[in-house]
């Protein structure tokens, strides 16, 4: 068993440098690596290009790194719900690249699968396709898209073990497994670090080979962005 455990989140960030491209798992505030985001903020690493489906909200998620101007560029599919983000974007302090969500997911998966490029129909005929190769397959135009190239991936799982195997819960899975596959160095924080052998090998979402550093996070807030409920009578 290859032991991927690091004692503390700071050790997990060793080698993270200004100007790097990094992946952050999560969809909205669901399944985001809360401890890692806080540690990146403390570390003060600057000029990051962040690939993340969303950009957090004011004061939480990646919003924390926007506050401190640590992010130079965001590559996302949807970035609403964040005033500081909007301010930085409109003032030109922050560079933003918006790409279709499925393409974002597939570019992560491609990076983690040794597929340098693939064709997708998403965005054909739109400004997303500008400057990109178009090719027709089965009568339908497709765009050539490329795998991401990121130095670090920061993901959050529900459970994990010392060998780096990860398991996710509910829709907190989202981009996390794909980004875990895509990082040159993948850092996984887990709600619960379980003993090796405790996870069913049939039900591992990310095999440990993709994970380089793992630690148990603490004090998860798990904020809900849009609380919708049925009223009890």
């Amino acid at each position: 068993m290859i032991d991927k455990r690091v004692a503390h989140v700071d050790a997990a960030l060793e080698g993270l440098e200004d100007g790097m491209t990094v992946l952050f798992g999560g969809f909205g505030l669901c399944g985001i690596p809360e401890n890692t985001i806080a540690a990146v903020r403390s570390r003060g690493t600057k000029n990051l290009t962040c690939i993340c489906n969303n950009a957090g909200v004011d004061g939480f998620g990646l919003g924390l790194l926007l506050e401190t101007r640590q992010i130079k560029k965001m590559i996302s599919s949807y970035v609403g719900e964040n005033e500081e983000f909007e301010r930085q974007m409109l003032s030109g302090e922050l560079d933003v690249e918006l790409i279709p969500q499925g393409t974002l997911a597939e570019r992560c998966r491609a990076a983690g699968s040794g597929i340098p490029a693939f064709y997708t129909p998403a965005g054909y005929g739109t400004e997303v396709a500008e400057g990109k190769e178009i090719r027709v397959f089965h009568g339908k135009p497709h765009i050539l898209e490329h795998a991401f190239d990121a130095s670090f991936a920061f993901v959050k799982a529900w459970k994990g073990d010392a060998s780096g195997n990860l398991v996710f819960k509910g829709t907190a899975r989202n981009f996390n497994p794909l980004m875990a596959m895509a990082g040159k160095i993948t850092v996984a924080e887990v709600e619960e670090l379980v003993p090796v052998g405790a996870l069913d090998p049939n039900n591992i979402h990310v095999p440990g080979i993709f994970v380089h550093r793992i630690f148990q996070g603490d004090r998860y807030e798990k904020r809900i962005e849009n609380r919708t409920v049925r009223k009890r009578n």
Binding site: G31, S77, P100, G102, A105, A122, N174, R223, I224, E225
Partner: protein
């Protein structure tokens, strides 16, 4: 009388067929789930990674690890499955989802759709919309017939940056049901109760055609 949001959702729900997997966008499309015809089985997919999405949770039972693509807390029905975003858009691109319902700012008479960007305004992004419209074979747009300034949202060509080309199959608005015919433009199929063909034509900027008399929609529930 023009339909309200629930009326639009209710009319769209009549398009559902037994055994379909359906992806509902944010806004009016979400309401479609409230009007599933009896006796048919439908499963809802949300592109952040769930099949078998159920209703909102009871108060106090919200799970932050269980949301839909609109970031709303939801529940999962028996037989549900969670998966990652690559598999989610994989099933969308592979046309395993039989119906996609989404909102729009403009639709052209060729079925182009614009729903993600207004130049000069803060752009929030396309989310999964470009993947959905580029992939789905059956796209219904749910929207108001005109914008808040009273201008038609059904145009000869979109003026806003588009989300997808020649992809919309059908449009349900507060005034009418229209199909897209690549050769002929908007085909007026049904009118909202009490709404005249003349009004619909007046409020449709794109080319509009009819195949004979245009019936009123049949809405079994009250359209309020």
């Amino acid at each position: 009388m023009a339909l309200d949001k629930n009326g639009i959702a209710q009319r769209i729900a009549q398009e559902l067929r037994d055994g379909w997997y359906v992806n509902l966008g944010i806004g009016i499309p979400t309401l479609v789930a409230n009007y599933i015809p009896e006796g048919i089985a439908i499963e809802f997919q949300s592109e952040n990674g769930i099949l078998g999405m159920g209703p909102f949770p009871w108060e106090g039972e919200e799970d932050p690890d269980l949301i839909n693509a609109g970031k709303q807390t939801i529940t999962a029905l028996p037989g549900a499955a969670y998966f990652d975003s690559a598999m989610s858009f994989g099933m969308i691109r592979a046309k395993k989802v039989q119906l996609t319902v989404l909102g729009a700012m403009e639709v052209s008479e060729y079925g182009d759709i614009a729903n993600w960007k207004i130049p000069g305004k803060m752009v929030k992004g396309m989310g999964g919309a470009m993947d959905l419209v580029a992939s789905a074979e059956n796209i219904i747009v749910a929207m108001q017939h005109t914008n808040p300034r009273g201008e038609s949202k059904l145009l000869s060509a979109c003026t806003l940056p588009i989300t997808g080309v020649r992809c919309v199959k059908k449009i349900v608005t507060d005034l009418a049901v229209l199909a897209i015919d690549q050769e002929r433009g908007f085909v007026l199929l049904e009118r909202a109760p009490g709404v005249s063909v003349e009004e619909i034509i007046a409020k449709t900027a794109g080319k509009i055609v009819m195949d004979g008399p245009v019936p009123e929609m049949f809405l079994p529930y009250s359209a309020s």
